[in-house]
């Protein structure tokens, strides 16, 4: 049976403010000695009262605006009770009933196309400290206590690990450019809610939550592991899935149960009487909107979200032809990060040997994609791919034919091509009609559909010929 993955995310982001959320202690960094950035308030001493840091509200609102949220004019704080030595008051101040932002949306561009992820809410809260274990004793470090966080909660709208990572990269790039957070190591932490269900099913499967991961790579591995565990349980009845909280063990690459519904503690949330409700009136909202940094280039943001490096983004943004080529092969199904490497490293390197630059690149998207997809499928290795690429750039060879001629491919079956072309023609009657009515360009859409269907396996030249034949 085919299964669909359903994921919702809770992402904690440390805000870049000069002081903590409820006191005037300065921001901490790894360079600080333990308990350097601590005052009676953030270490839970009696007599101190929390006083709201206005900047936290402004940054949370800015984040909400960036994620297309409703900004709630009335917002309040609640206390969440639990005992842990790194939590000096034995409660965390957070928002439960009236979060600052709700109902947002963020659009992702992935290999599966454009996807909307709904944001359920953004709320403000304070971070906890940390424990340092050494020898016989454990020590408490309150430097991080009361550092301001926003938690961004999505609806269960993700369908793959790739989408999750794209989303996280997008948040990271937005928040950096918006001055909301530096998103340094550990400053962005995720809880992943995950379930699987038979494809086509409406009902959600049993959900597990993987807590507190900060590396995107770990998040991706954890999702793959957990999804497989769920599918095995459903398919082979290896175990009974229960709603529970799990943690990801980086070394073994496995998730382990932490606590389930029965052993979950009651956090006894209730309103914090020390903090008056915050009213965000129109004047203040306008002020925050005015201070919001100019919209960052959407395209750069998408590249960043796709994991392309800043240096590569600069090259792409400054060269429209190159970025178009990248966009085209990504649309055909190539991973953006791989596409960037093929174009900006391999093609550029080949051209450089002849004293040329990327401006001289003439390779077509179809030919480039033929190469990258052969590598992706494992038909050929990357070195072979590069050889073909050199031949294309120097002599404009046909990649598939060249590959066969040089014996670089291990497996290639062209017989499936014709069936696929027929299927595409049957499914795209409008394009077919357009073509027959003289709109020659309509063939591009059909060609693209064939390539997608074949996952790039076909010889572009052959497909084009057969396609033209069939359309006559």
């Amino acid at each position: 049976m085919n299964y669909e993955l359903v994921i919702g995310l809770e992402t904690h982001v440390e805000l870049s403010t000069e002081s903590k959320i409820f006191c005037s202690c300065g921001g901490h960094s790894a360079a600080n000695e333990p308990n350097d950035c601590v005052c009676p308030a953030c270490s839970g001493m009696p007599g101190m009262l929390p006083v709201m840091n206005k900047r936290v509200v402004e940054l949370a609102v800015t984040a909400g605006l960036m994620l297309n949220c409703d900004i709630n004019k009335y917002t309040t704080f609640d206390k969440k009770n639990y005992y842990y030595p790194d939590l000096p008051c034995a409660y965390q101040i957070t928002q439960l009933n009236h979060p600052i932002c709700t109902n947002g949306c963020v659009t992702l561009k992935t290999s599966a196309g454009s996807r909307d992820i709904r944001i359920k809410q953004i709320h403000m809260e304070e971070d906890a400290g940390k424990l340092v274990h050494g020898g016989k004793y454990s020590y408490v470090d309150f430097n991080r206590t009361s550092v301001p966080l926003i938690e961004i909660v999505t609806q269960p709208d993700f369908r793959s690990a790739e989408e999750v990572v794209t989303y996280l990269n997008k948040l990271k790039s937005m928040f950096r450019s918006g001055g909301i957070s530096e998103c340094e190591e550990g400053a962005m932490r995720c809880d992943v809610n995950i379930s699987v269900r038979p494809e086509g099913s409406e009902a959600f499967g049993v959900r597990t939550e993987i807590k507190n991961m900060s590396s995107f790579e770990a998040i991706e591995r954890a999702i793959h592991y957990e999804a497989q565990r769920h599918m095995d349980a459903l398919e082979f009845e290896t175990e009974e899935l229960v709603q529970e909280t799990r943690r990801f063990d980086d070394a073994s690459g496995k998730t382990m149960a932490m606590r389930n519904k029965e052993t979950e503690s009651d956090y006894r949330y209730f309103p914090d009487a020390n903090l008056m409700p915050i009213i965000i009136d129109d004047a203040w909202l306008d002020e925050i909107k005015a201070k919001k940094p100019a919209a960052v280039d959407e395209k750069a943001e998408d590249y960043r979200a796709a994991g392309i490096s800043e240096k590569e983004i600069d090259m792409l943004i400054s060269n429209h032809k190159v970025s178009k080529l990248l966009d085209d092969i990504v649309a055909m199904g190539c991973k953006a990060k791989d596409a960037a490497a093929w174009i900006l490293t391999d093609c550029a390197g080949i051209l450089r040997k002849d004293g040329k630059t990327l401006n001289d690149l003439t390779i077509t998207a179809e030919k480039l994609f033929a190469v990258t997809s052969m590598v992706d499928r494992g038909d050929i290795n990357r070195n072979a791919g590069k050889k073909i690429l050199i031949a294309i750039i120097e002599d404009d060879v046909d990649p598939v034919a060249y590959c066969k001629e040089k014996g670089l491919d291990k497996k290639f079956d062209a017989s499936a091509v014709e069936a696929v072309i027929e299927k595409v023609i049957a499914e795209n009657t409008q394009s077919v009609q357009d073509y027959k009515n003289g709109k020659v360009k309509a063939i591009q859409a059909l060609f693209g559909a064939c390539m997608k269907e074949l996952k790039g396996a076909g010889d572009p030249a052959v497909i084009k010929t057969v396609l033209e034949e069939k359309l006559k």
């Binding site: 001493m45 009262l49 009770n81 030595p85 000096p88 034995a90 006894r268 209730f270 903090l275």
Partner: protein, 392 residues
């Protein structure tokens, strides 16, 4: 009785042990805070010192101010006839005035028993910065003094906005002017009068006569909100107290158990040894009303009751300037067992809880209590003053 007794004359002020003074140990009467020395002074102490007053010392309080008058302090001997330490010090003339945190009525009862005045001001008018906080939504620092005039003097110094307290109202100062009360209208609440013993009733009658002699109109009415107010406040107060004192866990400061094998035992043993029976009862009650399946019926409902009763009170105050009630049911209390404390305090708080619940001012004078709408301190002090200076 005060354990930081220094020279006490003229401008000496005592503060109770839930209010921090830099350098002086602070315990809120509890073993759990044993040895804790605050790094800063409460805003009220700083303001008094800046105006030339001397914080002469601290007075014992019952653990976290949860008891009747202050009888269950970890640090003081229980007397046979119960008295509040701060109120007694003022009654003896040892200090000019004293400050106490009004949370569940112990301050007002103590003032009534010792025959001194005590004002619990409108919520948000006096900074709570430096109070060992329990019930944040209704506690407020108040003043003990021999007379209404004495209270006015101290309130003029300590009231007004403080940036360090998020619940502090924006006003820089408030009006505590004492003026002629003739022509004012006061009502006596029948339901509360019925709960008081004969001596208390006699005090109330004497106060009423005093008011009438100065041209104040007094009449008896029925106003049945006090039982409900008390229940709602006990729910909010225990819940907030349970939460606020959960930070006393033996990890950071104060008492830590010597015997423990892991962190859970450290918590449990330290807290078991550190809190008295009454505090433990409050913790249990408070965690229960906050628990998932009780929250809507208890805590949330109490918040709604708070709003409704506030409106009802304001409605009544359209016809009267103040209400006159007993501050407690008796004129003296004898020693009793701590296992009875929770119920006993609950019963007696029926007189005091409304003021904490809805944040209105309450003034104890002549062993009775006056309450008025928000910011009516000036009126309450004027009414008390006209009775206190009846010969003039």
């Amino acid at each position: 009785m005060n354990y930081y007794r220094t020279k006490c004359d003229g401008g000496n002020i005592a503060v109770d042990d839930t209010i921090l003074v830099k350098g002086m140990e602070a315990s809120a009467g509890s073993k759990i805070l044993e040895g804790f020395k605050p790094l800063f002074s409460a805003e009220v102490a700083t303001r008094l010192e800046s105006k030339g007053y001397n914080i002469a010392g601290k007075t014992h309080v019952g653990e976290f101010g949860l008891d009747l008058l202050g009888e269950f302090s970890h640090y003081s001997e229980k007397q046979d006839a119960l008295k509040g330490a701060a109120a007694e010090l003022v009654a003896q003339g040892t200090v000019k005035a004293a400050l106490g945190v009004d949370m569940n009525g112990s301050t007002r009862r103590a003032a009534a028993i010792s025959g001194v005045d005590f004002l619990k001001p409108t919520y948000g008018t006096v900074s709570r910065y430096g109070v060992i906080s329990c019930a944040a939504s209704g506690e407020q620092i108040g003043v003990y003094a021999p007379s209404a005039l004495g209270i006015k003097e101290i309130m003029d110094v300590i009231a007004g906005h403080d940036d360090k307290d998020g619940t502090s109202l924006r006003n820089e100062s408030y009006d505590y002017t004492i003026s002629d009360a003739a022509g004012k209208k006061v009502c006596i609440v029948k339901e509360l009068l019925e709960k008081a013993d004969d001596e208390t009733k006699a005090r109330l009658n004497a106060f009423t006569d005093g008011l009438r002699a100065k041209g104040v109109m007094v009449e008896e009415i029925s106003f049945e909100i006090f039982e409900t107010a008390n229940t709602a406040w006990q729910i909010l107060m225990t819940a907030e107290t349970c939460n606020n004192i959960s930070r006393y866990d033996g990890v950071k400061f104060g008492h830590r158990a010597t015997e423990y094998k892991n962190i859970d035992e450290l918590y449990v043993n330290s807290r078991t040894e550190g809190f008295n029976f009454l505090t433990k009862a409050v913790i249990l009650y408070g965690s229960d009303v906050l628990s998932k399946n009780r929250y809507a019926d208890c805590y949330d409902k109490s918040l709604k009751v708070r709003r409704v009763l506030c409106e009802k009170f304001e409605k009544l105050m359209e016809n009267y300037d103040a209400i006159l009630t007993p501050a407690c049911s008796k004129t003296a209390y004898n020693r009793f067992d701590i296992h009875e404390a929770f119920g006993k305090v609950f019963e007696e708080s029926v007189f005091t809880a409304l003021a904490n619940l809805i944040g209105i001012p309450a003034l104890v004078s002549g062993g009775v209590q006056l309450m008025g709408k928000h910011f009516s301190e000036s009126m309450l002090l004027s009414l008390a003053d006209c009775v206190e200076r009846k010969g003039e």
